[in-house]
């Protein structure tokens, strides 16, 4: 028998204090019934004696201290999962909002998940071809990786993420895939952009959408990515699917976390974000991966907007420390009309080394990748020098590097949002660009590779 309490003592949204409770436990899910009969969700943040501090997931508007009733449900927040979730749209708490029937649950899962045993992980090593040269060639994505996109306000991250979702495939493989899309506090328009793109390509039938839009309760956002990842874990590790999780925008999530932390009067860390932001984000991102003996995988592409394009802001900074690399978009390239505006030098995929090479992509991949990075970096330095001192100040070699940098941006990076390049096309294009440089400068590539792949002078 679940007890009902009418002992709400204090409400300071998003927190509420309930007194004279019995048997309430930490992290338990609760339900508030308003005098109007409306129900709202909440969870326990702290219990001390018979007093519970409760966090509301929705607005506190209309809750009345004397009349409202609180019930504690005896378990943490759960999600009803089933394969029927594919093709459906849910709100940020995991309730259907597409007018369809409720999900007949195959199981109820705690949305917090459990930490994966490092000894049970399988190392991600399968190359995913996204068709985007800057990713495939230079920052290779592998199955089970978490590779965020660091964007800024007004940059076209949605177009890039949709392009990846559309084009991504594992070579020579026809396993079932699924997309889990979590909209965290983004606008209706941005959310529709993704959903329309999924619809256009037919991917919508394989997609589960969790939607917490900008006008939905902010605190609910703390649950949204967890709900989405719980669905992804079910599909990947129990149903054997290759799941791609796109979460946008993590900045909104962190802000919701800060709001609750401030209400709890916790000692803030950097920029007012709670000291446990790193740990909290890690419990989301680390849910990506592969497990030994399991067919499925979770590959994660979280998107975040860097406030003021500042990579050292706590959200991108802590994310970068947890994720296995990052794709950074550049405002400068965007202004130049480069599509997608991927800032190649600070972008990185930590897992690329295991996903490339003989049998995965091609033997020359590692060498050309390092050479392209190094040459572009030197070319950019040369161009910078050129703007200060003029072209005459450059050595002959540096002029070639500057030319290389321009060509690289124009042809390699700027491929548009609809071009789907195979990895072979990407690698060959790289060689064509390296031809601009003097051969003795190609120190990062083994001589036999140069012999074999460098296009011959006509």
């Amino acid at each position: 028998m679940i007890k009902e309490y009418k002992t709400i003592r204090e409400i300071a949204s998003p927190l509420m204090i309930v007194e004279h409770v019995e048997g309430v436990t930490y992290d338990e899910l609760g339900e508030i019934e308003l005098p109007s009969g409306q129900k709202r969700r909440c969870k326990v943040l702290e219990v001390e004696g018979d007093r519970a501090v409760v966090q509301l997931f929705e607005s506190a508007q209309g809750i009345n201290l004397a009349e409202s009733k609180v019930r504690f449900l005896g378990h943490p927040q759960q999600l009803a999962v089933s394969e029927d979730m594919l093709g459906r749209v849910f709100n940020g708490m995991g309730e259907p909002i597409d007018g369809g029937p409720a999900i007949l649950a195959d199981a109820h899962k705690d949305i917090n998940g459990l930490p994966m045993n490092p000894a049970a992980r399988a190392y991600p090593a399968e190359f995913i071809q996204t068709g985007v040269s800057t990713i495939d060639g230079l920052n290779t994505l592998v199955r089970g990786q978490k590779l965020p996109i660091f964007s800024g306000s007004g940059l076209p991250h949605a177009a890039l993420a949709a392009q990846i979702a559309r084009q991504a495939k594992v070579l020579g493989d026809d396993e079932t895939f699924a997309v889990v899309f979590a909209a965290i506090g983004i606008t209706f328009e941005e959310s529709e952009y993704f959903i329309n793109d999924f619809r256009r390509t037919g991917a919508i039938d394989r997609t589960v959408v969790f939607s917490n839009l900008a006008n939905d309760p902010a605190v609910e956002r703390i649950a949204t990515p967890r709900v989405a990842l719980t669905a992804a874990e079910y599909l990947a590790f129990e149903k054997g699917m290759q799941v791609l999780v796109i979460m946008t925008d993590i900045t909104n999530y962190a802000e919701a976390l800060r709001e609750v932390s401030a209400a709890k009067k916790e000692v803030p860390g950097r920029r007012g974000y709670p000291g446990y932001l790193y740990t909290d984000l890690a419990t989301l991102y680390e849910r990506a991966g592969r497990r030994q003996g399991k067919k499925g995988s979770i590959t994660m592409i979280p998107i975040l907007t860097m406030p003021e394009d500042d990579k050292t802001h706590p959200i991108p900074d802590l994310t970068g420390y947890i994720t296995e690399g990052q794709i950074i978009l550049s405002r400068e390239l965007h202004r130049k009309g480069i599509v997608p505006p991927v800032d190649v030098l600070p972008s990185l995929s930590r897992l690329k080394d295991k996903g490339i090479g003989v049998g995965k992509t091609r033997e020359d991949h590692a060498g050309t990748m390092n050479q392209l990075f190094a040459a572009y970096s030197r070319g950019k330095d040369a161009k910078e020098l050129m703007t200060i001192l003029g072209e005459a100040a450059l050595s002959e070699d540096d002029k070639l590097f500057a030319k290389f940098a321009d060509e690289f941006e124009r042809r390699y990076v700027s491929q548009g949002n609809s071009t789907n390049r195979s990895i072979i096309e990407t690698l060959d294009l790289g060689w064509e660009l390296l031809k601009i440089l003097p051969r003795r400068e190609l120190k990062r590539i083994k001589p036999e590779m140069i012999e074999k792949y460098l296009p011959k002078e006509d």
Binding site: T25, A119, A393
Partner: protein
């Protein structure tokens, strides 16, 4: 002795009725018997940090104290194993509870069933003191595990076993002065927050060979020394740590993955058994203990993982081994400290970190060192501690970096701009330092003659000069430099690209012996001295800089271990010849 919970707030639990418990006792919390540790006591109520997720706990649940401080089990079975932050073996937890870590899983750190072949060293009638070796066990093909008399036991050996035994079997009995008989099993327990005792500490004087050129040649670390590797994300901290774990010429490596990525630990787990120690050909995993408390695992156990690691290191040190402890990353450990401090409502110091942050860090690093171990045979062992630091935004003015810099003697500063240019290891040669140079120089001189250290200072000088010249180039362009200065720039470029850059993913280059490092630096600097002469003689600068031998210098580091000396000699001869030709050409014109 048991109490009742009155408050639960995340990993912090307050329980009353524990008046008889001690601070730092390990307690079991709730019906799931979660593991916790007492932090503070007020009256009969205790603040407890719980090492597992506390969801589902509430007031009224039972808390039991074990009466023991947080301890590790030390004995055969630790090598080639992977533990979580409180020494629970992860493969066995997986066998017990599946792919995810469930709560309240109780597994003994050392396998209770595995039999070890115990070879006695002590004989009945021997007088033994703590640290004396009772016998040995071949723990892995690489390491002989010495079973020692535990601290506090001293007297006459009554009996010693031999043959196959499990760790809990009594393998010796010792009668002390008071006539009390101690039955000694193959393992001992030690509280993790207490440093293990030793006879005497020495100043480190031998270098630790890491096989990494920028480390061994420019910023060496001593065995028994301390180092920090700070750097923003993406600058290659973890690769540096992995390289050190792979190639360091120590006997044992303890790798602590503290609040870092799960896949990185998997990488180590998969790669190390495949890799062979360049010195004895044994798989590297046979000398490695992994401690993995990844970022998604409970935060309180992360705080403990550092201590668990260093205690195991000290235990192997006590056997007379050289041990390296690699902690990745100490910043995550500090954050765990901050989180618990916040929940205890302590007055925060800088950036919310507790005021005792610096002293805790110092206590950790101070457990490194070269020591004469306990025991009558005067053996020496060392613990080298290397901690990664992850400063927010790469800005090392933050408290963890600053507190660490005050303690450690070696500082390998990673630089994101080097990483962007794919210059790896991205250790910045201008901001890094090693305070062991003076104590280690005699060793280098003894092994390789005066040349090694002379080359080093010459190279450092050239790199320093380059940074000054670059300022000028940025203002007025390269043409304004004198030929001699242009040569300095060229040589510096060669030092950077042909010597300092080292590819961890190419077999020939991942590890460089001292001799190869020495000869390679020699080769790079030989170009400088030959060209300086040539310039004096009026040779054409541009021709000197583009001689074909330079391309071969650029690839010299890839030379195979067996043939590099011959290769280098050839390149040098070619370089000499070509420079001569340029000089002659200049005179002709």
């Amino acid at each position: 002795m048991s109490g009742t919970i009155t408050k639960v707030s995340g990993p912090l639990v307050v329980a009353e009725g524990l008046a008889d418990a001690n601070v730092s006792d390990v307690v079991r919390v709730g019906s799931q018997r979660l593991i916790g540790e007492i932090l503070n006591m007020t009256g009969d109520s205790a603040s407890i940090q719980v090492y597992e997720e506390t969801s589902g706990l509430g007031p009224g649940a039972v808390v039991e104290t074990t009466g023991m401080p947080m301890s590790v089990e030390l004995g055969p079975g630790m090598l080639d194993n992977i533990y979580d932050g409180i020494q629970r073996p992860l493969p066995e937890m997986r066998a017990l509870s599946g792919d995810c870590i469930t709560r309240g899983t109780d597994v003994a750190p050392l396998n209770r069933e595995k039999k070890w072949d115990f070879v006695p060293v002590a004989k009945p009638g021997d007088q033994v003191i703590p640290g004396d070796v009772l016998g040995t066990v071949q723990e892995t093909s690489a390491i002989l595990h010495k079973i020692m008399v535990p601290y506090g036991v001293e007297g006459e050996v009554l009996s010693v076993a031999s043959g196959e035994h499990v760790v809990t079997d009594v393998i010796a009995t010792v009668k002390d002065k008071k006539g009390k008989i101690h039955e000694l099993p193959m393992f001992q327990r030690w509280p993790v927050r207490v440093a293990r005792p030793y006879t005497r500490k020495y100043v480190p004087s031998r270098p630790m060979n890491s096989g990494q050129r920028i480390i061994d040649t420019l910023f060496p670390i001593a065995k028994g020394g301390t180092a920090a590797v700070p750097g923003p994300f993406g600058s290659g901290k973890t690769v540096v740590q992995h390289q050190l774990a792979k190639w360091s010429d120590v006997d044992i490596v303890i790798y602590i993955g503290c609040g870092e990525r799960g896949n990185e630990m998997t990488d180590v787990l998969m790669e190390f058994p495949e890799l062979k120690d360049p010195r004895n050909g044994e798989p590297l995993m046979k000398r490695t203990v992994l401690i993995a408390n990844t970022s998604d695992m409970p935060v309180a156990a992360r705080e403990a993982s550092i201590y668990t690691g260093i205690t195991i290191a000290e235990y192997f040190r006590d056997m007379g081994y050289d041990v390296a402890v690699l902690a990745d990353s100490t910043s995550r450990w500090a954050e765990a400290l901050r989180e618990m401090s916040g929940r205890l409502e302590e007055m925060p110091g800088e950036e919310g970190y507790p005021a005792y942050l610096a002293s805790r860090l110092a206590q950790f690093y101070e457990r490194a060192g070269v020591v004469e171990c306990l025991g009558a045979d005067d053996r020496q062992g060392s613990v080298t501690a290397i901690g990664a630091v992850s400063p927010p935004g790469g800005d090392i003015s933050e408290p963890v970096s600053q507190a660490t810099m005050r303690i450690v003697k070696v500082f390998w500063a990673l630089d994101s701009s080097l990483a962007y240019a794919r210059h790896f290891p991205a250790i910045n040669w201008l901001t890094s330092y090693s305070l062991y140079l003076d104590t280690l120089a005699p060793w280098y001189t003894k092994e390789f003659g005066e040349g090694y250290m002379q080359n080093r200072s010459k190279a450092m000088h050239i790199l320093q000069e380059e940074s000054e010249l670059q300022e000028i180039v940025r203002l007025v362009g390269q043409d304004a430099l004198s030929p001699a200065d242009r040569l300095t720039m060229e040589t510096a470029k060669s030092i950077r690209e042909d010597f300092l850059q080292q590819n961890a993913f190419v077999d020939e280059d991942a590890y460089s012996s001292y001799l190869k490092q020495y000869k390679l630096m020699d080769l790079v600097l030989r170009f400088d001295s030959l060209c300086r002469d040539a310039l004096q003689k009026g040779a054409d600068m541009d021709k000197l800089f583009t001689i074909p031998a330079r391309e071969r210098v650029g690839r010299a580091k890839m030379a195979d271990v067996k043939v590099f000396e011959k290769d280098f000699a050839e390149i040098e001869a070619q370089m000499k010849r070509e420079i001569e030709e340029v000089i002659a050409g200049g005179e002709d014109a």
